[in-house]
């Protein structure tokens, strides 16, 4: 036992290094987020059709972010967003915290909902070198709530997106969706949110899991009525919880409370007896 206790103080601390895109830890208010691709995205230089781009983005979200059991995020297919606004294709990406310095006439539109993907060829402001495969940022943020995010795929003549394998494209899209929902870069090279792309990426790292759990934490409803429910942030509706499990949990917590109550009572009684014995003697 002593040996084990000593080990407790010698164990190596793991590093948690996830970072966020905004200083307010902004996240989408609704955990059900949709992905759209603009209808005017031709993506000819990037070498992908807009339908395939949408499929890839949805797969990236489902295979990575939607699979985290400690998070309640649910990213799904929205569809093709009908638009003729060419600023999606040529405008500069302006993150929500720098929009005062972004002229509306030359920036990607920000009046969007959910996540919008477009193929963009702006090499002056966005894709300054071929190493930039894609860019992403929340563009419509109110207090701690993201209303809309943009993902831009490098569709300029200097793009190298067209040379990527299917798995690399998948990890690029999943990475950019991570940014779109509020996650920043990680300094751990195994993380999906590491700045460099990887073709061997089949799972999230613990750092990615912690980031998405922090921004979109899972919450239970009711807890068997014991806690009166744990209601989500900003009045989110609580998650429906399996009735049997909630009942079991309430019962278990009830047992714990009863046991400690009984112990406390017994302890008080025995100390009273001890005092009485002393007085009698």
């Amino acid at each position: 036992m002593k040996f084990l206790l000593i080990c407790l103080f010698l164990y190596p601390l793991s590093v948690y290094s996830f970072r966020l895109n905004t200083n307010t830890a902004a996240a989408f208010g609704d955990k059900n987020i949709k992905i759209y691709v603009t209808s005017n995205s031709t993506c000819s230089e990037a070498g992908i059709s807009k339908e395939d781009l949408l499929d890839l983005a949805v797969k990236g979200a489902r295979d990575f972010w939607n699979k985290v059991p400690t998070s309640n995020i649910n990213i799904e297919r929205g569809g093709i967003l009908q638009t003729s606004n060419n600023l999606f294709l040529t405008g500069a990406l302006c993150a929500s915290d720098s929009q005062t310095s972004c002229p509306e006439a030359t920036s990607v539109p920000t009046s969007i909902d959910d996540i919008v993907i477009a193929c963009n060829n702006n090499t002056t402001d966005n894709f300054k070198s071929s190493s930039y495969l894609a860019l992403s940022a929340p563009v419509r943020v109110s207090n701690q709530t993201i209303k809309g995010s943009i993902v831009l795929i490098n569709d300029s003549t200097n793009t190298s997106f067209d040379t990527l394998s299917y798995n690399e494209r998948l990890s690029v899209l999943a990475h950019e969706i991570g940014h779109a929902v509020g996650i920043g870069h990680s300094n751990k090279n195994e993380a999906l949110m590491y700045y460099a792309n990887s073709d061997k990426l089949s799972k999230l790292s613990q750092d990615d899991i912690d980031a998405i759990t922090y921004l979109y934490p899972n919450r239970l409803d009711g807890c068997g009525g014991f806690f009166g429910g744990t209601i989500g942030k900003d009045g989110d509706p609580p998650i429906k919880q399996n009735l049997l499990m909630s009942l079991l949990l309430g019962t278990f917590l009830g047992w714990i409370l009863l046991i400690f109550t009984k112990f406390f009572t017994a302890l008080t009684r025995s100390s009273r007896l001890f005092v009485l014995k002393k007085v009698n003697s």
């Binding site: 164990y11 996830f18 830890a25 400690t70 613990q206 934490p217 079991l248 949990l249 009863l258």
Partner: protein
């Protein structure tokens, strides 16, 4: 017909046959997360946790064991992560030296940080990203299965904690391996 009674009259203090203290290691999402850039998954690591519990005897071979525990925090780079749990296992004594368990844990996974900025690489340049500014907690319910090997007043327990047990797409497994020291409740009043 199954009936569950929670009234205090049904509870008998004498049925608490044992209390236990636990020291162990918590294997979070063991072999299910990416641990290296070559896509290798995470292996065994020492991540201590402490717990305490009480064995409430229902019958000679059956008991309920409510427990509370805390996985020690990890906090090197501004974000501190704590895991607390409350759980209760239904315990069946198969042999004198072997108990099997099934139960559920209420997991509280808490992240705390005090905000700030950090400059990290982004393509050829660096960019500012932000440290979480406040505490947030995720609540989860797990399905737990376990076995405990008993020798005198000591035990060695292996337990699995299944997250999203009813959703195959999201299901993940954490494990705990612990050493238990058991003692009778009467020792508290000596």
């Amino acid at each position: 017909m199954l009936s569950i009674s929670l009234s205090s009259s049904a509870f008998e203090l004498e049925k608490i046959s044992k209390l236990n203290l636990q020291v162990g290691t918590w294997l979070e999402n063991y072999q299910q997360v990416r641990a290296r850039d070559n896509d290798a998954v995470n292996g065994f690591e020492l991540r201590p946790y402490l717990g305490l519990g009480a064995k409430y005897q229902l019958q000679q071979k059956m008991a309920i064991i409510p427990e509370a525990g805390w996985v020690l925090p990890q906090n090197k780079e501004a974000v501190t992560k704590n895991i607390f749990f409350l759980r209760a296992d239904f315990n069946y004594a198969v042999k004198k030296w072997l108990d099997l368990k099934i139960g559920s844990s209420f997991m509280m996974q808490s992240y705390s940080a005090e905000g700030g900025e950090d400059r990290l690489r982004n393509g050829d340049e660096t960019e500012v990203y932000y440290i979480p500014p406040e505490r947030r907690t995720a609540y989860n319910q797990t399905l737990d299965l376990g076995a405990e090997f008993i020798h005198k007043n000591m035990g060695l327990r292996f337990q699995t904690h299944i997250y999203a047990w009813n959703e195959s797409d999201e299901r993940m497994y954490s494990y705990s391996l612990s050493y238990l020291y058991g003692f009778g409740p009467q020792e508290l009043f000596k």
